[in-house]
Structure formats: C-alpha cells, structure tokens
C-alpha cells in the first residue's frame, strides 16, 4: 500500500495491438460502413440506370416543363390543362399544405376539448369521451375517410336544393360556396396596417409584462390587442375609400359559377383527419394534465387563484411540457396521413403528382423521390417549429 510508484513509465498501459485498439477499430468500422453503404447505393443507381435504359424509360426532370393536359378539381393558384407538370406539383403541394395546416389547428382544438372532457366531473361526458377515443383510434383511418366521405355527401343536398343564406352562401354536395373578395386599388394599405398592428401588439405585450414585473399593475393586453388588430386595418380601409367588392356565386345549369368554394372532399378529409387525430391528442392532453402534481393545484388554490386562473396559469403551462413532444409526432402523423386523400379524390400531392402525373409520364423514380422529399421537408419543418416552441416552454431551472 505504501509503495510509491517509481518514477518513469513502469506502469504505463501497454499499447494494444491495432486490431484491439478501440480507436483504430472504430475508424475501421466506420470506413467499412461507408464503403458498404457507398457500394449499396452505387449498385442501386447502376441497376436503375441500366434498367431504365433497357426499358426505354426516359429520365431527368424535363417532364416538369411539359403540358399536363388534365384537370384538377381544386387549386389554390390559377391552373388549367395547358399548364405544366411542374405546376401540377405546386398545386398538389399547396393542397397538401392546406389540409395539413387546417387539420392541425382543428385537431388540436378538438383534442384539447376531448382530453379535458375525459377528466370531467360529469360521468356522462367523461364516459362518452372515453368511448369516442377508444372507438375512433382503433379503426383504420382509411376506413374512416371512406365513411365520412360518403356520410358528408349523403348529408348535403343537391345543387338545386342548396341550403343558402341570402344568395351569398350556398351549401350543397358540390361544396360550400361563398362570395370571393376582390381587392381594389389601395387595399395594400390595409395589409400594411395589419402588419403594423401585429408589431404594435408584440411591443405592447412586452411593455405590459415589464410594467407588471415593475409595479405589479396589470394592463388589459387582450382587449387592447383586439382593438389594435381590428381598429388599425379598419381605419386604413376606410381611409382609402373601402376598395373591396365581392364576387358572388351564381346558380347555373350544373353548377355555381364564380365565387369561392370549399369542395366536399376537403371537408370530408379534414373532418376524418381531425376526428382521428383528435382522439390521440385527447389522450396526450389527458396524460399531460394528470402529470401535473396535485400539489400544484392545491398550492394555487391556497394562493387564492380562481379555477380558470389555476388552469391557465398553473396547470396548462406545466402540462404543456409533457404534451408538446408527443403532440409534435401527432402533427407529423396528420400531415403524412393527409396523403390518404388519394382514396377519396381530394387532389393532394400524392393524388395529383404521384398519381395522375406519374401515370402520364411513367417517370416513377423522379416523381416518387420528389414526393418523398416534400413530405420529409414538411416533417422536418414541423419538428423544427415545435422544437423551438418546446424549448420556450421547457422548465428553466436555476
């Protein structure tokens, strides 16, 4: 025990032979992995090119400039048959983004309501919410989409029997029609006013927060914000002379011409995606709320906070930390599930681009790769946004 190590390298670890050295092995292993992977991709590429050449399948992205020649039911940008395949890609992409965006908002709202309902004191509400969740999330989404599409179509009246409000809004099995706003000259000022209002609100919130910290006085931020966001654009609108008109839908022989519309495919898809995803979100919300320790609610009651304040200031912020990560993956699922649109004819990216365009051009490799790249990008974007939000909500410990 008392032995002092003698000076010099007596106990220096002996250098292991290179095949046992972890560092060397690690490098060899990685290089090997790279080589195998490279060989794998090279073989696939080689095979694919050889196969395509042998079968006379054209390659490259030149097809994107060729005229598509088929119609698309719904487009957020102007589109007709003479536009290019590249344009069909954009049309499908925008439709996918639209349904995913709306679906995420609606599913979040419904999911939170259901999640809270499952914890309700009212036995009937709690049980119904439970039954809903257990039924909906255990049936394949594709089946539900089929079901809701038929249900939506059968519930809506024919075009002649449209439900109409003042000949401006029509609801029938061709969709929901509403007047299309047409922005006249000078309307740009209104948009500018809107942006100014948003900026003002951000500043106001910051200032109110600082005042609260400094003096303890509260400032009615909410009402002030509403005043700003409505008032400023309205003032600007009136100042430039109200340059806004509407194009009304007009009943013709087969259709309602003009106006703007929401097609039933979108309604059904949105409805099904919302119902399905909300069932999962409800479970996440419920778990999140249950995860907040009971002591927290008791403490906030002891501080004299009202029930609504307890929920708003104490429970929800803490529950959100548990909720956000699984919520993110539900958002991703919803976006990916929107690709089932192809089953009911909603013209999303998969239906328009990986369906019809692929059929017409036969360029499977390019089209499938582009489609997958788009979904990957959307998924990564959603993950990014939710991660930023998560970081803001995360527990900051000293």
């Amino acid at each position: 025990m008392a032995d002092q190590p003698t000076s010099g390298g007596g106990l220096q670890p002996s250098k292991p032979p290179p095949w046992n050295d972890p560092a060397v092995r690690s490098i060899v292993f990685q290089v090997l992995a790279l080589v195998v992977l490279g060989w794998f991709f090279w073989t696939i590429l080689n095979n694919t090119l050889a196969n395509m050449e042998r079968r006379g399948i054209s390659t490259g992205f030149a097809f994107l400039d060729r005229a598509a020649g088929f119609g698309i039911l719904m487009s957020l940008i102007p589109y007709d048959e003479s536009n290019s395949y590249g344009r069909t890609f954009v049309v499908g992409l925008l439709n996918t983004v639209l349904v995913a965006f709306l679906g995420i908002i609606l599913a979040t709202v419904l999911g939170f309501v259901l999640g809270v309902a499952r914890l309700s004191n009212n036995w009937v509400i709690a049980k119904l919410a439970t039954v809903y969740v257990e039924v909906v999330r255990n049936i394949p989404l594709l089946l539900q989409i089929f079901f809701w599409y038929i249900a939506v179509l059968q519930a809506l009246p024919g075009i002649r029997q449209s439900i109409t409000v003042g000949d401006a809004f029509y609801l029938n099995n061709r969709g929901f029609f509403f007047p299309k706003p047409i922005f006249g000259d000078g309307f740009g000022l209104v948009w500018i006013a809107l942006i100014v209002a948003v900026a003002a609100i951000v500043c106001l919130r910051k200032w109110a927060r600082q005042r609260l910290d400094r003096t303890g006085q509260q400032f009615p931020v909410f009402y002030a914000s509403i005043g700003l966001i409505v008032g400023l654009p309205l003032l600007a609108f009136l100042a430039v002379g109200a340059p806004l008109s509407f194009e009304f839908a007009e009943l013709q022989r087969f259709r309602l011409a003009g106006g703007a519309s929401v097609i039933p495919e979108l309604m059904a898809l949105l409805w099904a995606l919302t119902m399905y995803t909300a069932a999962f979100i409800a479970e996440i919300v419920r778990a999140g709320i249950l995860a907040v320790s009971h002591g927290q609610t008791e403490a906030s009651r002891a501080l004299g906070l009202k029930n609504s304040q307890t929920l708003q200031l104490v429970v929800i912020p803490q529950a959100m930390r548990v909720i956000i990560p699984p919520l993110t993956s539900q958002y991703l699922n919803l976006t990916k599930n929107s690709s089932l649109a192809t089953a009911i004819g909603y013209p999303d990216l998969v239906a328009v681009f990986m369906g019809t365009t692929l059929n017409q051009t036969g360029q499977a490799v390019e089209i499938v790769a582009m489609t997958m790249a788009v979904y990957l990008t959307i998924s990564l974007l959603i993950s990014l946004v939710m991660n930023i939000y998560n970081r803001r909500m995360a527990l900051v410990e000293r």
Partner: protein, 366 residues
Amino acid sequence: MTTAWQPSPSLPPPASTVGAVGWARSNLFSTWLSSVFTVVLSLVTVYFLWQILDWGIFSADLAGKDQSACDGDGACWVFVKDRFNFFIYGFYPDAEQWRVNVMFFLLAALIFPQFFENAPYKKALGWIFLTVYPVVSGVLLLGGAFGLEFVDTDKWGGLMLTLVLSYVGIVAALPIGILLALGRRSEMPVIRTICVAFIELWRGVPLISVLFMASVMLPLFLPEGTNFNKLLRALIGITMFQSAYMAEVVRGGLQAIPRGQYEAAAALGLGYWRSMWLVILPQALKLVIPGIVNTFIALFKDTTLVLIIGLFEVLGGVQSAIIDPAWQNVAAEGFFFAAFVYWIFCFGMSRYSQALERKLDTGHHR
C-alpha cells in the same frame, strides 16, 4: 333582563354523498350546466344507439344466400356471411384453409398467456413467438414442403394477409430497429449519422409513398432478371418503415436505463455487444414492450394501405366484394364488418399495452 337562549334552527343535513342518489348528484347533476349536458347527451346517445342497433340487429337480415334475402331496411349481413370466407382467407384454397386455422390457433395459443400475470413458460412462449413461430407458419402457409401443397402468395388475402403483413412487419423490424437505436446512440459519428438519416427519412414520409416506392421503384433497383414477388416487396417497404419507428421506441428504452448500468457492465469487463446483449437490452426492451405494442397497433391499422397497391387484405377484400354486380348497396355492411374486425384486434392490443404500462409504471399517483 335575561333572555332564554334560543338555539338557532338546525341546518338541513348535508346532501347525501353515498348511494345511487349521492353518486348521481356528484357525477351527473353537480351543477346546472352539468345537468343540462347529462340530459342532452344521454338522449342523443340513446337515440343513436337505438338507430345503430335497429339497423345492425333488429331489422337486419341474416338468413338466406343472396341479394333477394335482403329486404332493404336494416343491414344485409347475408352479404358478409356469403363473403366471410373471402374476408378471412382471401383466395386461399378451401381444402387448405385448415393450415391458416392452425396458424391462427398457434398465434392465439402463444399470445394468450402473455395477458396473464403468472402464466407458466411466459418467457419461453414469447421467444417461440418471435423465432419458431414465423418459420412454422411460413412453411405452413406457403407449403411446398412436408407434403403440403404449395400455395402461392397471390392466393393470400383477407384477415390472414393482414396478420401476416403486420406480424412480419413487427418481427422483422424489431432486430433492425434495435440495431438502429444502438447505432443512433453510438459514439462513432459516421454510424450515428447513417442511423439518424435512415430513421428520419422513413419517419418523415407517409407509408403510402413507401408502399408505392416498393411496388413501382423497387423492381428498377434490382439487377436485370431478378424480381421480387409483390407481397415480398410490400413487406420490405413495411419493414423499412416500421424499423424506423421501432428504433425510436427502443431508443426511449435505452435512454431510460441509468448510466450506472452501462458503467457497471463495463466494469465487469464486458465488451460493447456483450454488455448490450446481457445487461442493457434485457432491461430496456422490457420497458418498451408497451411502446412496441403501440407501434404494432399503428402498423395493424396501416396495413389497410396495401389495398392501394392491389393486395386484398380485409378492407381490400371488402372493397373488391362490394363492386360485385351480384350485390347492391352493401358498402355500409362491408365497411362495418371491416371496422369491427380492426377494432376488435386494436382495442384488445391497446388494453394489453395499457395494462402493461400500469404494471411497469411504479411512480406515485393520487
């Protein structure tokens, strides 16, 4: 002046909180708003329940052989009865269907004990489920050996195909998923990058595009002259897709293992693979069984998508049966049947995973 002390009148007894009345008061009619909800929702529920029962049972037709047996109001279960064999076995020849039944039976026999806390040989049965069972059922279903007639995969369909797809998807994805999860936590940057890229790629795209890729692009990847059978292509796609999800589930388990376990394994002189195989994975995998079951449920539902590439699983079988001109207006019955089949399986499995979670969860609760 004295006044006689007058006791103030006694308060009424507190509302009963026990018994049926007490329960109803606190759970159904606690507030005015709550009472309204209770009444309205109950009425709506009863109404819809009645409608569904009337359609599905009271006015339904079950006897008979064809369309003429259905009188129009109520469900026409005759159709489901007529096509039941197709929905379960697909095109599998009638004479050979006992083989599918044996597969079903073995599956049930292997899984059933897992639901019980202290069933004997649970672990052994679990291993058989993951290793021996796939071989046996593969031989059984495909045939061509031991005097069994060869039944090609184009004859497979219905519930049997759904089970094959989801079972193979999970069992094949499990080892790949474990390797990917280990790779993702590896200290070697190249390995880690490859694994992360693989996982995020498959998790970022919809299954429908993966199946599409498997059915349309995969034949182009292979050297001239080789080709995969369609079912195998779909299985490859599903396995790739599923292994990425599996990797994330397993990673969750690996992260839950305290550092001390890794260090203890290293201190015992175990190398990387042995410490993983003997110390870390047994603990981690036990933790993630509920997660694995949940991904299995998701996959089970997702197998419906193979109808888009022309394989007849339950929903695909229903769809192709509906278009038969011999039957009319039977879509609702067909879809209801499919929904019921999926629901039974998924609900059962989700109950199982919830029970497991409760068992594994030793945290404190109120």
